[in-house]
């Protein structure tokens, strides 16, 4: 085992935990947290790939992850704004399971 493999396994564990969080937690802020952690897990896998060759680090995945981090914060910020508005209008922080009338 090499450090990249260790971190890839870590990414797998985080991904699984985040999927669980997304499915089991109805609170919308928690769902956004889970989605963020899923994203970080994917980023971690990409960076682990970049580190496989001990001589050279591949810069392309790093650039992809930087782009991904900015996209993640944008989506999270918008999602939180939407959640706050929903809460203010309806007092709810989750999506009801009942169907849209």
């Amino acid at each position: 085992m090499t450090p990249p493999v260790l971190y890839a396994l870590c990414a797998a564990a985080i991904f699984g935990i985040a999927v669980y969080g997304l499915l089991s937690r109805p609170h919308l802020v928690r769902r956004l947290l889970a989605l963020n952690m899923m994203g970080v897990a994917v980023f971690l896998l990409l960076v682990a790939f970049a580190r496989r060759d001990p001589e050279v680090t591949d810069p392309v995945p790093h650039a992809m992850v930087l782009t991904g981090i900015v996209i993640a914060v944008s989506a999270t910020a918008f999602g939180l704004a939407l959640v706050r508005r929903l809460y203010r209008d309806t007092g709810r922080t989750g999506l009801s399971e009942s169907r849209d009338p």
Binding site: L28, F78, L82, R85, D89, L95
Partner: protein, 492 residues
């Protein structure tokens, strides 16, 4: 300084709407927004003409290596017949829906300063998807389309729209991450991201990567079983937004499925063709049956989208040039007809203030005459009756199924067509009923549908009908650069 050629236009059709969105941020007035949209339409229209002429002339795809770096180092833009079909569809639907929005937005209190940048950015993202040749770039542009489309759903406010927007956002973000995971695996194995240079062979890791990418795109495309977010989002959005969501935004993800499974990893298709086709079949039946059960007009149309998207997946099991042409024609004609239908439904809501079918008996006359004509024409195309693009598409698909001796798929096409006729005739029967007096025809009533709203819906509906006559030359353009796995099989 040089005059832009087709290869330069490939870049400009992305940057014209993008810079128009930027300009709309700087000049937020209604007049400026309208002119920026018109300018975007004119310039991208010119670009599409240039691209189409080159494509017909040379018979091969147009490309542009961004930054002058060849793939796999740089990102390449790429346009072939399929791209052009989707780009033209985007152009027509965005133009007509913008026209509709000019009258719809002020009447429904939609803030122009916020609407316009989101709207133009959505146009940019759609064009960017259809010319992208890079897996990671697709992730970025799909995020643009998500972050433009979701606020547009919620822009008019209201509890139902907010809930719908949030559900849409969660599905879209999850889909993007699952897609990105698949892309990460592809990069880890092959070290490149260009769709047209990757040589992916069937091995477990790449099958999983393809599965992840497909699942992610299915969530974005609302393909069964990831469709639950679509009906509320598409039915609760403002009318012009519903039109572009159903006609274009979900189709961008389906387009990518077609592109990836036929160009990037055609070697993996064998077993997957039946799975994808099967999901398409489930969508066709499930969506149609639910459309039949809805009590609100826009929800009928939204479930119809769930069903009609299923047709596009039939290309995988049928795999012939005929099927390919049928699917491309279906994507285009459904886009026009569905956008026309949503705009018409918006006009009805504009007058009635609601879209419950119950309260719509016999409203077809008077101020809604043009709208009703648009609605009926769109319905004809969605049902697949002649003369319409929808008929042409379903005819091509049926022919492909019969030529391949695939009786099961042929039967499915017929059943789905009957179901579509059932849910659409049910709506038309209510609207055209003559047993009650038209509630809108009361004397002294001065309610009317603004010209822009009536004619934009009618333009799209007429477009879907005209496709029946323009089918031949259009299909020649749209078939340029068809994938080998489609042209290698039976077909003319």
């Amino acid at each position: 300084m040089s005059v832009p050629g087709p290869s330069q236009w490939l870049v400009l059709i992305v940057f014209v709407p993008l810079l128009a969105a930027v300009a709309a941020v700087l000049w937020p007035g209604r007049g400026a927004g309208r002119w920026l949209t018109v300018l975007t339409g004119l310039l991208t229209g010119g670009g599409l003409l240039s691209l189409s002429a080159r494509l017909l002339d040379a018979g091969e795809p147009v490309t542009h290596a961004l930054g002058g770096w060849p793939t796999p180092l740089g990102i390449a833009l790429y346009a072939d017949g399929l791209s052009l079909a989707m780009l033209w569809l985007t152009w027509v639907v965005m133009s007509a829906a913008s026209w509709h929005a000019d009258a719809y937005n002020p009447a429904h209190g939609i803030d122009e300063a916020l609407f316009r940048p989101l709207w133009l950015a959505c146009w940019c993202a759609l064009n960017a998807v259809f010319v992208s040749g890079d897996l990671f770039n697709v992730y970025v542009v799909l995020e643009i389309s998500t972050l433009a489309a979701v606020p547009l759903v919620a822009i008019a406010g209201g509890r139902a729209a907010l809930t719908a927007a949030l559900r849409y956002l969660l599905f879209a973000l999850l889909g993007a991450l699952v897609y990105l995971l698949g892309v990460a695996l592809v990069y880890g194995r092959h070290g490149r991201l260009d769709m047209h240079g990757l040589e992916i062979t069937p091995e477990p890791a790449m099958l999983l990567a393809a599965g992840l990418v497909t699942a992610g795109l299915m969530a974005k495309a609302a393909l069964v079983p990831m469709h639950v977010w679509l009906p509320p989002a598409h039915s609760r959005a403002p009318a012009p937004v519903s039109a572009i969501l159903s006609a274009l935004v979900v189709k961008a993800a389906v387009y990518l499925l077609l592109r990836l499974w036929t160009w990037t990893w055609p070697e993996l298709i064998n077993g997957a063709a039946w799975v994808l086709g099967g999901l398409g079949a489930v969508a066709m039946i499930h969506g149609s049956v639910l459309a039949l059960l809805q009590v609100r007009l826009k929800r009928v149309v939204a479930y119809s989208t769930v069903a009609q998207l299923g047709y596009l997946l039939l290309v995988f099991p049928l795999a012939s040039l005929l099927a390919w042409q049928g699917v491309v024609m279906h994507a285009v004609s459904h886009g026009l007809a569905k956008a026309g239908f949503f705009l018409a439904a918006g006009n009805i809501m504009h007058l009635l203030g609601h879209d419950r079918l119950q309260g719509m008996r016999g409203i077809s006359g008077g101020p809604l005459a043009l709208t009703m004509f648009a609605l009926a024409l769109s319905a004809v195309s969605l049902m697949g009756l002649p003369p319409s693009g929808g008929f042409l598409a379903k005819w091509l698909l049926l022919q492909a199924a019969l030529e391949a001796g695939a009786w099961g798929w042929a039967a499915l096409l017929l059943i789905a067509g009957l179901l579509a006729a059932a849910y659409l005739f049910r709506v038309l029967a209510i609207l055209l009923a003559r047993d009650t007096p038209d509630p809108l025809a009361a004397p002294g009533s001065d309610r009317h549908v603004p010209t822009a709203m009536a004619w934009s819906a009618l333009t799209l509906a007429l477009g879907s009908a005209v496709l029946a006559f323009a089918g031949e030359p259009l299909l020649r353009l749209f078939s340029i650069g068809s994938p080998d796995i489609m042209t290698g099989s039976t077909g003319p």
